[in-house]
């Protein structure tokens, strides 16, 4: 809602244009926002994107499905595992490849660990934007613990190519399961520390409560998904609405808040980390033995002709992959529907009539990754 009345009379006040980016200290990446300011009050904000355009969709039209495997991870590098698994699942559904049970459980554990590490990084950088440096160090330290666990079995810390068509490329062992269980026990206590450090902090509350409220009709107008939608009161999660993989076997809640401001989004993401721990604990205790990669995977990936769409719940929202196949082993068209693109296009509506300092808080709270916007 409008916090302040903005006088629009150009004769009585001088307004000016301020450029935020493409190089600016909030570590969201290279994006430019052209702000039209009246003192410190924002009259309008226009995001200008394209500084991170790397031509993923054109690359998809020049490579076959297997050669495209390294790319999805680099589209959203914070949720690299989730995107990598999502792409594999999209092609597996199109080709009707069956994935063994053990591989499914391994994928779930790695997905949820990736989700927690993405939310931790978001927490650290969001609070750094607001001026707090300590939570950044705490969050990165916990994130290093997750990266150690994943690094040991996949070999990468950030951009993964661990999931392949038909399962995962390397098996896990008991050391991995011990590490994960220890981490879960440790992290549940640690989350309480974060809440004491952050949620109760009066400066944080002043800067985020009532700031950046998404109007109720924004969801339908701009296709908001993910934690931003759940903070507006809608209980929607792709893992519950359109279950993929084996998510329907796990017992977890979808956290919601109703206000739709920055504080609500923070609470939703904190609670989501807790729910991810729940899923991981269930997956680790039910981990079956067996194959980690399907025994018979077609050597040439040629989905039957037609259109396919597959969406997964990324830490930012609903990430969808649209594949138009013409029967050959190179996709005719591969479109990546990324949540950050929709959320940033809603920014002009949310940022109008707020203060400049609030713009930083809003931009941090919607959790964007710029290469995902530009692809």
């Amino acid at each position: 809602m409008n916090r302040f009345e903005v006088e629009q009379d150009p004769k009585s006040r001088d307004t000016y244009y301020l450029n935020m980016g493409p190089q600016h200290p909030s570590t969201h990446g290279v994006m430019r926002i052209k702000l039209h300011l009246d003192g410190e009050r924002i009259i309008s904000a226009e995001p200008i994107i394209g500084y991170g355009h790397r031509a993923h969709e054109k690359m998809a039209e020049n490579r076959d499905y297997i050669q495209f495997l390294p790319n999805p991870s680099r589209v959203d590098y914070l949720g690299g595992m989730i995107y990598n698994v999502g792409y594999c699942q999209a092609v597996e559904r199109a080709m009707d490849i069956e994935v063994p049970e053990r591989a499914e459980y391994i994928r779930i554990v790695c997905n949820e660990l990736n989700r927690i590490s993405s939310h931790l990084l978001w927490l650290g950088t969001f609070l750094m934007d607001l001026g707090a440096f300590t939570p950044f160090l705490y969050a990165f330290d916990d994130r290093e613990k997750i990266l150690d666990i994943l690094d040991r079995i996949t070999g990468s810390r950030l951009t993964y190519c661990y999931a392949r068509f038909g399962g995962v490329i390397l098996d896990i062992d008991d050391v991995f399961l011990d590490n994960v269980s220890n981490f879960c026990t440790y992290f549940v206590e640690r989350l309480k520390e974060y809440e004491k450090l952050v949620i109760g902090n009066v400066i944080f509350r002043e800067r985020t409560i009532g700031v950046g409220i998404f109007a109720p009709d924004l969801a339908q107008k701009y296709a908001i998904t993910g934690p931003c939608l759940r903070a507006m009161g809608h209980e929607n999660d792709v893992r519950k609405d359109e279950p993929y993989g084996i998510y329907d076997r796990f017992d977890f809640d979808v956290p919601t808040q109703t206000e739709g401001d920055c504080f609500a989004r923070t609470l939703v993401r904190m609670e989501e980390m807790r729910q991810s721990i729940r899923i991981i604990e269930q997956a680790v205790s039910d981990m079956p033995n067996g194959l980690f990669l399907a025994a018979r995977v077609p050597r040439r990936i040629r989905p039957p002709e037609g259109d396919y769409y597959f969406c997964v719940e990324s830490p930012r929202g609903s990430f969808g992959m649209y594949i138009a196949s013409d029967g050959s082993d190179i996709p005719f068209r591969l479109k990546l529907r990324t949540p950050s693109f929709s959320h940033i296009s809603a920014m002009p509506a949310v940022m109008a009539s707020t203060m400049l300092a609030d713009a930083v808080a809003i931009l941090g709270s919607i959790d964007i990754v710029v290469p995902e916007i530009d692809r």
Partner: protein, 153 residues
Amino acid sequence: MIADKLSSLLRDTTEVQYDARGFHVQYTASADTLPQIADAFLSENFHLEMITCQDRRENDDAFRLIYQFNQYGMPQRHVIHADIAPDATAPSIAATFPAADWYEREIFDMYGVSFDGHPDLKRILMEEDYFGHPLLKDFVDPPNPYRSEDDAS
């Protein structure tokens, strides 16, 4: 229901296996009925998930625009294919669904398809003064010093 509102506007409807394809219904429509289709979806509480385009000039001598609508809560994904001639323009639905604004700008940038009634149709991913439309099948990047092969040193 959405099916009744749309039946007069669409050419043909195919029910699709959701488990195999990922969406529920696929329609074909002609491009000039798109604003009415968008209004129908808006009134039934659907939102616009994405718009994309395929370069089918070689196969069908057309650009195929693909619109995808979905609902929160109970997913009902409807996909609409609208073919337009290579030098024709399509109507913009940005007035009904503001999300379409940026998707249409991206299609203009990448394919060169213009949208009538769009509030501000300019390039979004490439530079403002870029020449060419990259996602066309016959697009060739002109020689320039940013590429390694042309850099003689």
